[in-house]
Structures are given as structure tokens and as C-alpha cells.
């Protein structure tokens, strides 16, 4: 190799080395910044959801423990009024019915905000109660299968319940399904949730990119903060499957 050739060779090698360093730096920076971005994003989502859940809990408790007893007491007092006039009695009866209606609606709102059962009896009972309520409405037939009981950390229960609630609401609202099967199982320290419906299905990739709704995003956010995994598989006219795997 002559002198000029050698100089050319050296220049190319230095160029190749510099390109290599730039590419390596580019890739390492992407990985590092992505890691930091994910961590910050997770913390932000967790903070937002925690604030939201605490607010829901406060309102639900205020409605259930504050307004509920007051309304019951009002109804009790009304019923103790002695009336002789028939038209007055009719008015009081009507007011009593209205108060009953208010108490029922308030309980429903309170339940939607935070089911009492979840606090008192835990996740599985809350899911059972929720699916029974939906089945009673006869809009969708939900079959719940709990393969075996397993302990779930208290702080994760609300997120898991909300995810199941979201899946059921999405199925009711969009899937046009007749039935929904929900299975809960445990495998090697992971809680597995599988929900299968017989609805019309949808294009998952497109929905993720284009949908303005919050349902899918909420499912993804909650899975993310639980360090879980969410897989949605759907084929047009062949239903949708939600699979969730959460470390417990």
C-alpha cells in the first residue's frame, strides 16, 4: 500500500469509527431518555389516578354516610306526621316516594364512584356484585369464572376493579355483544384476567391511534402503573379478547 493509499485508508477508517461512535451515542441516549420518560410518565399517571380515586372516594363517602342518613331521617319524620286531610296525605306519600327515589339514585351514584363492597369485602366480591348488577339489567350476559382465590394487594384492587368495569362498559357501549366471559386466574405470582365477548370486534391498532375516547387509554394507563401487560385481540365479527397480566 503506497503512502497516499495508506492516508486514504486511514481517513476512511477514522470516518467509519466516528460514524460508529455517533450511532452508538444516538442509540444509548435514546434508551436512557426513553427509560427516564417512561418513569416520569408512570409517576404522573399514578399521581393523577390516585388524586382521582381519592376524590371519588371522598364524594362516595359523603353521599353514603352524610346525605344518606339525613334523607332517611327526613323520610322518617315525614311519616310520623299525623294527617287527617286525604289530599295532604297524598302529598306526603308522594314526597316519601321522591325521597326513596333520591336515596336509590344516591346509592347508585355512590356505588359507581366507589363500590362499598370493594372496601369491605375485597375485589372478588366487588366484581361478583358488579357482574350480577349488569346481568340483572339483561343487556349483556356476563359469565364470571374465578379459578381460585388469591391474595391481591389492597392498593391494586381498585385499579383491577376499574379495568374490569371499563371492559364491561366498553362491551356494553361498543361491542354489540350478547355475552361476555370474564376469567380470573393466578399463575406464578401474576394475576391473569381474560375477557372474551362475542361482539362485532374492531381494529385494535386503528382504535389505539385514532380513537378520541378514554376507555382504551384508561385501561393502558392502569396496566402501566401496575407494571402489567395488556393485550387486546379483536377480529371483525369474531369478538374481542382482553388479556391482562399483573404481578401480585
Amino acid at each position: 500500500m503506497g503512502e497516499r493509499e495508506y492516508q486514504f485508508y486511514e481517513a476512511v477508517m477514522i470516518l467509519a469509527l466516528l460514524i460508529g461512535i455517533i450511532i452508538a451515542y444516538f442509540i444509548i441516549t435514546i434508551i436512557r431518555y426513553h427509560r427516564r420518560y417512561i418513569k416520569l410518565q408512570k409517576e404522573r399517571i399514578l399521581a393523577e389516578i390516585t388524586i382521582q380515586e381519592n376524590e371519588r372516594k371522598r364524594i362516595a363517602t359523603d353521599l353514603h354516610d352524610g346525605l344518606g342518613p339525613v334523607l332517611s331521617s327526613v323520610k322518617l319524620h315525614i311519616n310520623t306526621v299525623e294527617l287527617v286531610n286525604a289530599s295532604d296525605k297524598a302529598i306526603i306519600d308522594k314526597a316519601g316516594k321522591h325521597i326513596d327515589e333520591i336515596i336509590r339514585s344516591m346509592r347508585q351514584i355512590s356505588y359507581n364512584l366507589l363500590p362499598n363492597t370493594l372496601e369491605r369485602k375485597g375485589l372478588l366480591e366487588a366484581i361478583r356484585e358488579f357482574t350480577t348488577l349488569i346481568n340483572e339489567r339483561r343487556e349483556l350476559r356476563i359469565e364470571l369464572q374465578v379459578l381460585k382465590g388469591f391474595p391481591i394487594p389492597r392498593e391494586k384492587e381498585i385499579h383491577i376493579f376499574r379495568m374490569i368495569q371499563e371492559i364491561v362498559h366498553n362491551t356494553l357501549k361498543h361491542a354489540g355483544a350478547n355475552s361476555l366471559k370474564i376469567g380470573l386466574g393466578e399463575d406464578d405470582g401474576f394475576l391473569l384476567i381474560l375477557a372474551q365477548d362475542d361482539g362485532k370486534g374492531f381494529d385494535v391498532a386503528r382504535a389505539k391511534e385514532e380513537s378520541a375516547g378514554l376507555g382504551l387509554k384508561s385501561l393502558e394507563s392502569r396496566t402501566e402503573i401496575l407494571n402489567g401487560q395488556l393485550i387486546i385481540e379483536s377480529t371483525p365479527n369474531r369478538g374481542t379478547e382482553h388479556f391482562i397480566k399483573i404481578p401480585v
Binding site: M1, E5, Y6, F8, Y9, V12, M13, L15, A16, I19, I23, I27, I30, I31, H34, R35, Y37, I38, Q41, Q145, L147, K181, G183, L184, G185, D187, L192, L194, Q196, A205, E220, E224, Q229, I231, E233, E241, F243, K245
Partner: protein, 223 residues
């Protein structure tokens, strides 16, 4: 060890992703199928060149084989990017790009030159396009993937492509702009042998990380 054998052994690193591909082929996400075919074809081509072209065929046959390999590589990888939805389901754009690539290859090899001579313009052009598509895919993954990106198959494969095709552009631009076949030029070409080996290892890792077709177990059947 002789020079051709050493180069052949380095090029045989394609065996790693090919074996991984064979193992993962059936249960891997079907959107990666074109990439598997690309790997299998690359292995076939390496073996074909070493055992048939180099010892038996003429230099012209070797160049024809190289030109055909470039065309297939370009087409299959474009299809792969379409499968990865990098064209946002815009079939017209994808078909247009395939058409442009084919027209470019045909005009370079049959209109402006002959298929029997070294024509690097098509290779440089599609390498450039593939680098841009790979960077686009990497950016998409960075924004949309919410787990450790270093364990993301798409990211690893695209990093491999960026490295391989950037060096392809540099090396072939140098080779194309100077037609003296000196020892220095052969040494420059050496870089590609090592980059090829590194890329093959990245591809093997990428294939290993490809998500399965169905990741969940049907827990209803466990009852």
C-alpha cells in the same frame, strides 16, 4: 486461514438469526414474516455465493447474483415496513415506492448500464430510504412503547438496519466514486464484513424478542 474463508465465516453469522428465525417462525407475530424470509434468503445467498458462485461461476454471474439480491432485499424490507404499518396503511404510497424501486433497479441495470457491471446507485438509494424508514420506526417506538425499549424487537431490528445501511451507504459511495481497485479499497470493504456480523447478532436478538402470536393462555380452558 485464507481471506475468502475468513470473510465467509464472518458472513455466516447470518446463521444465528436464521436459527432463531426457524425456532420462532411458527409462534412469532405474523407481522414479522417478511423479515424472516429476508433472513432465510440472506443465508441461502451466502451459501450459494460461497459454494457455487465463487468457485464455479464467472465474475459476471457473481455481479448478477449481487444485483438480484439487492432488488429482493429492497422489496422484502419495504414489504416489512408496510407490515409494521410505517406507511399508515397507505397502500398507494407503498405500491408507489415498490414501483419506483423496481423502475430504478431496471433502469440502472438495463438502461443506463448493464446488469454485468457494478452498479451501486440503486443500492445506495434504497439503503438511504431504509435508514430513514428505520429511524422513523425507532421514533415511533420511543413514543408509543411504554416498557423497556432495549427489549423491543422492532427497536433492535431497526437499530441493526440503521447501522448496516449507513455503513453500506458510506462504503459504496466511496467505492462508486473511485473505480481503482487498490488494496486500500479492499480494506475499506473489510468494514462491511464486521458491520454485517454485528448486525446479524442484533437481528438474532431482535428475532428472539419478537412477541408471540398469542401471548395469553386461555384461562377458561384450565378449569
Amino acid at each position: 486461514m485464507s481471506e475468502p474463508l475468513r470473510k465467509f465465516l464472518f458472513s455466516l453469522t447470518i446463521v444465528f438469526p436464521a436459527i432463531m428465525g426457524l425456532v420462532r417462525y411458527r409462534n412469532a407475530d405474523h407481522r414479522y414474516r417478511p423479515f424472516f424470509y429476508y433472513i432465510f434468503y440472506s443465508l441461502f445467498n451466502e451459501l450459494f455465493v460461497f459454494f457455487y458462485i465463487d468457485p464455479h461461476a464467472t465474475k459476471q454471474a457473481s455481479i448478477i447474483n449481487w444485483e438480484i439480491f439487492n432488488l429482493v432485499e429492497c422489496m422484502v424490507l419495504l414489504v416489512q415496513f408496510y407490515y409494521w404499518q410505517r406507511f399508515k396503511n397507505n397502500k398507494l404510497l407503498f405500491l408507489g415506492l415498490l414501483g419506483v424501486a423496481l423502475a430504478g433497479w431496471l433502469s440502472e441495470n438495463f438502461v443506463f448500464s448493464t446488469i454485468y457491471s457494478f452498479n451501486p446507485v440503486f443500492l445506495i438509494a434504497y439503503s438511504f430510504a431504509l435508514v430513514l424508514l428505520s429511524i422513523n420506526t425507532i421514533n415511533h417506538q420511543v413514543v408509543n412503547y411504554n416498557r423497556s425499549i432495549s427489549k423491543n424487537a422492532l427497536f433492535i431490528i431497526c437499530v441493526g438496519m440503521v447501522i448496516f445501511f449507513i455503513y453500506t451507504i458510506v462504503i459504496f459511495t466511496i467505492l462508486a466514486t473511485n473505480n481503482k481497485h487498490t488494496k486500500a479499497f479492499s480494506s475499506v470493504f473489510e468494514i462491511r464484513v464486521y458491520i454485517n456480523a454485528l448486525t446479524n447478532i442484533l437481528y438474532a436478538i431482535g428475532i428472539y424478542l419478537i412477541p408471540g402470536k398469542t401471548l395469553h393462555r386461555n384461562i377458561f380452558q384450565e378449569k
